[in-house]
Amino acid sequence: MIRLEPRTNPSQAMIILTPILAVLATMVVGGILFVTLGKNPFEAIRMIFWDPLLGEHAFYYRGQILVKAAPLIMIALGLSFGFRAGIWNIGAEGQFIMGAVIGGATGLALYPLNSFIVFPLMIVMGALGGFLWAMIPAFLKIRFNANEILVSLMLVYVAFNFLIGMVTGPLRNPDGFNFPESRSFQDFPAAHNPELWAGTGIHLGVLFTLGFVILAYIMITRHIFGFNVRLAGQAPRAAKFAGVSPNKMIAICLGLSGALAGMAGLFEVTGPAGKLTTTFPLGYGFTAIIVAFLGRLHPIGILLAGLLMAVTYVGGDIIQSQLSLPKASIQVFQGMLLFFLLAVDVLVNFRLRISKRNSK
């Protein structure tokens, strides 16, 4: 008989070990999946995990991993504060879109002004766009106690339709043959978020993300705000007595996550995506929720989780073209990884006991 026995304290060793266990389990079960598809499992797994990081063309892929990971990490960092405090912003995707649209529109309004002020202004407006969009669920929650999960989620669809309206209307490229997309930021240097070092993929958003990881780490471990957030999540009544206003907490947490999501959207649309289109939102705002939890709502964990997700995306595309595997099989593989990561989590709080049959 195998039993689960609660631990008195969460196992520190397991906190480190479980992600490794999960990756190994995914490799084994994923390997079986690839065998059933008639592929060499060792080759497939090497292509997913090894090639993007250390393979022949890794010099290119490593940068691309950062490009994929940066928006996920930036959004997840913002979400993690709210999630710790029990404030559930599910609509980061909408705030991401609004940041991109408001920040992007600011730049496009100044076209073709060639001034160093354009891009910093766009960053601020992007953050503001996301912030204001997140203030809607915050206001409705504070004023009418409306459920922020539903409101923020529904606002994603509103934001998406707003995006459609903007790129088919005011923001449409006047020289673009009526296609529903904005002017390319690539052709507008003052508003462009370019690769900072050619071939590395690293853009300003990647650097900002790294800065935010450090900042979030300090906030959560050293700053009174981090303490209040944790307190509000774990013991709301105690937090109240300690003078933490629940309403303020709602506004700050939603606002912070909205601003970071908006900024991520601005960096994405002016850099990797290149222009506002109806197809630039790829669901980073939703994936970031997974990244936040995979990273155990801890800044360093989120950094690693974001990078891991990005590796599976980049590696997934590599095996698709190299081994002619269908996209669905890659998605199953990625899903498996998430499943195992969550499943083995149980080992942090429980230990496995193998006991004899007759033992009571």
């Binding site: 296609f179 529903p180 690539q186 790829l282």
Partner: protein, 357 residues
Amino acid sequence: MKLLKTLMTGAALVVGLGGMAQAEDKTKVGFVYVGPVGDFGWSYEHNEGRKAVEEAFGDKVETMFVESVPEGADSERVMTQMALDGADLIFTTSFGYMDPTINVAKKFPNVKFEHATGYKQADNVSIYSARFYEGRSVIGHIAGHMTKSNTIGYIASFPIPEVIRGINAAYIAAKKVNPDVKLKIVWAYTWFDPAKEADAATALIEQGADIIMQHTDSPAAMTIAEEKGMYAFGQASDMKQFGPKARLSSIIDDWAPYYIARTQAVMDGTWESTSTWDGIKEGMVGIGDFSNDIPASVQASATALKEALMSGATHSFTGPVNKQDGSAWLASGETADDGTLAGMNFYVEGIEGEVPN
């Protein structure tokens, strides 16, 4: 030392790893698809074209593809990856891949690129598309005859010239044989989303449409039409298996001859940057078999229209045609030029509603 290595690899990419993309005897051809190859529509037909290339050249060619690649940074990465892996020729099969294709092509001057349905050409980037609107004329003609409610439903994707062209062509042909015909248009803002497409089809049927046309990639609308006893047309591929009763005919994209010819050109070293816009005549646009529900007289007139489009005796846009606002566009007997068609952003007279703006 490590720093030096990093700098060198970075520099190598800038200088152009294009050089690496050559070598080997096999010609490597890459395909980037916007949807899954199992969409039974747009991406499916491009993948059929890829298979035809493999069949035509056997051992001399190696193909690779990645499906469901989002337009934007991901597509740029996938194209770069294919070029790094030694592709000689890369087909990028969605409008949104336009800028990424141009960007990657700059980095790999020795790799040839072929971008579908866009308008940006370069020394190593050709563009190609099909005159789908010719097919729209034929199915519009059939729909005009077949509708009993005089209402045709149209599931549109994005308000880009290609889609608007299709709407206009279908309407002009339907109106010609049925002056009372009305077109109801739903904008789905997606190329491939079976759930949304199915919703759109249901909504159109509820609004009185008894025939559905679509400019989206999945057979979802066909399935709905079959369920509700309405008619529909196969889009991009035949789609017969999804609506044995509902399917009247279909517009079939046939990329195989073009893909084979372009691969051959790369092998022969005769590849040049070109702009191709082929129609029924060249075989890039095909019309599927007619359903037995279509009366023989209509089958005959539809076939005659198809042949006239092939021979050039008829053009899908032949005057007199006015714009929606009543202003004159084409005088009697005048045909539309390719430039106007390529940038078409207005409805013709008689279509209700506005081009989304």
